[in-house]
């Protein structure tokens, strides 16, 4: 997302106007896009992950997605938005926002959003921008759930995602997306969250999966999903919601948005197809979990590039996405032996990383004139992207490690053996997902 604060403005008088104002059309699209991004977490991701685990742990996954939506939304209004997009004074400014907008203090209902991409005047309400970004803040920690599924303590999880949002998500999003952010100023780009969302969550996933240790009965391969139709519903809703995620990141309903929509859909379709072919060739059968995983990998990979690439770039990115992610998930992970239960790192982390670097190669000026990648003569963008990814990997990795240690020492993170054996649903929530009694 590229943004510039420029001028504030009151709303009103549309078209033929050079003053930033609230445009009904763009606002209509962004209201929907915001709702769509929420749908990605609940029930999209919840079902995608929930279908992949065993019956005895499905409610725990659903609960984790629900509570993340609840708690991070509150955190966002209380201080998250302000820390991320607010301004702070002096030396801190490039690194973290202040508390001026805590509780959204001072943001009036007819204020226009200070941020925009392609439409400097036809903008949306500031409060709507707050909400749109809220949904990104919610889904990012929720993505990590896949890494520690089926063995984490609920209390530890809850504390961890709150700390992680405060100390990892908010700063990294500030660097990349705030107009003060140092990575943004350096020229790094991230259209809809390849670095901020996917690399960030993906690295945290890897670190926590390793720190938490394997599930008691993990034997270096996935455990058969308890409900594949749920995985399909989840995938379809993620795909659907991702139109809000990527095409919404244009912050307007215009040509840029339409292109983002197009490349998002094409990337999902192509990566899904590529994965199925790999399944068919290597595993002998085309699988449903495979096509779903491929679609999600393609979506994650195109995310940072969605505002910069054309059809050719998209085809390249999405085929690469499935090749690399398949290799990570089916070959590297079992070799290394860490238990990233639902491949939060292997799909989201690797996908986001690949897409962020590919943007540095394939960004084409026919989409946004100001951004060209190495293939279009601007080598600098690639190195900037590489640097931004590197910084995020290091920062997210280190701070995640520290925060997880803190949670481990205080409330604890690992479910005990009995809880893991009985299932987290019964032991942590006193509930069974499916009850047959009449």
């Amino acid at each position: 997302m590229i943004l510039s604060v420029m001028t504030a403005g009151a709303q009103g008088t549309a078209v033929a106007s050079t003053v930033p104002h609230i445009d009904f059309g763009n606002t209509a699209w962004m209201l929907v896009a915001t709702a769509l991004v929420m749908l990605m977490t609940i029930p999209g991701l919840a079902l995608f992950y929930g279908g992949l685990v065993r019956r005895k742990n499905v409610l725990n996954i659903l609960m984790q997605c629900l509570i993340a939506t609840s708690v991070i939304s509150i955190e966002w209004v209380v201080c998250g938005y302000s820390m991320t997009f607010g301004s702070s004074k002096g030396i801190l400014a490039p690194f973290i926002g202040g508390f001026d907008w805590a509780f959204l203090k001072g943001i009036k209902i007819n204020d226009v959003s200070p941020y925009f991409i392609s439409q400097p005047t036809a903008r949306i309400p500031h409060l709507l921008y707050v909400m749109y970004q809220c949904m990104f803040a919610v889904i990012t920690p929720a993505l990590i759930i896949g890494a520690f599924a089926e063995r984490i303590k609920f209390k530890g999880y809850l504390l961890f995602i709150i700390l992680w949002s405060l100390f990892v998500y908010n700063p990294v999003a500030h660097w990349m997306w705030s107009s003060d952010g140092w990575l943004l100023k350096m020229g790094a780009v991230d259209f809809a969250g390849g670095i901020v969302v996917h690399v960030n969550a993906g690295i945290a996933a890897l670190i926590t999966a390793v720190m938490l240790g394997k599930r008691k009965d993990y034997r270096n391969h996935a455990i058969p999903p308890h409900n594949i139709p749920f995985v399909v519903i989840g995938t379809a809703l993620l795909w659907f919601g991702w139109f809000g995620f990527n095409a919404g990141s244009a912050l307007a309903a215009d040509g840029l948005s339409a292109n983002a929509f197009l490349v998002t859909h094409l990337a999902a379709a192509t990566a899904a197809f590529t994965w199925v072919m790999l399944d068919w060739i290597i595993g002998k059968k085309p699988t449903v979990v495979g096509i779903c995983t491929g679609a999600v990998a393609g979506l994650a990979t195109i995310t940072p590039a969605a505002g910069f690439v054309d059809v050719a770039g998209t085809l390249f990115i999405s085929v690469a996405s499935s090749l690399v992610c398949f290799f990570m998930v089916a070959i590297v992970k079992p070799r290394l032996g860490y238990d990233d239960s639902l491949d939060a790192f292997g799909v989201h982390g690797i996908g986001g990383l690949l897409g962020s670097l590919a943007t540095g190669l394939l960004a084409t000026p026919v989409i946004q004139a100001a951004y060209s990648g190495a293939f279009y003569g601007n080598h600098k963008l690639f190195w900037t992207q590489l640097f931004a990814v590197f910084v995020t990997v290091v920062y997210s990795g280190v701070i995640t490690f520290v925060l997880f240690k803190i949670v481990e020492k205080t409330v604890g993170v690992r479910a005990n053996t009995k809880q893991e054996a009985m299932g987290l649903d019964e032991t942590m929530h006193s509930e069974n997902a499916y009850t047959d009694i009449d």
Partner: protein, 116 residues
Amino acid sequence: MKKIEAIIRRSKFEEVKDALHAADIEWFSYWDITGAGKEKEGLMVRGQVFESSYIQRRMLSIVVRDQNVVRTVNAIIAAARTGEMGDGKIFVSSVEESYRIRTGEKGPESLYLNDV
């Protein structure tokens, strides 16, 4: 009367059902079970084929007159066999009494399969 409990592959169910009907069994009951044991069956998840220590099987329960045990067992074995590990088991035990709820009839008369 004897109760025949057969644990078979779900994939062989249709063939076994037909074989049983061909052997004059008019009704039987079945439900799904899981077998827990040593690694056995190939499954595929996200590009990996692996062995699972749980296998999904189907339990058939059939009560027959004593004289029909052998042909029923033979019918099942013939239809359910693939020759691979995991084809399943058949257990035969004794049933002391049988009732038809609809009529209250007792004994072998409550079973369909006639004497042969």
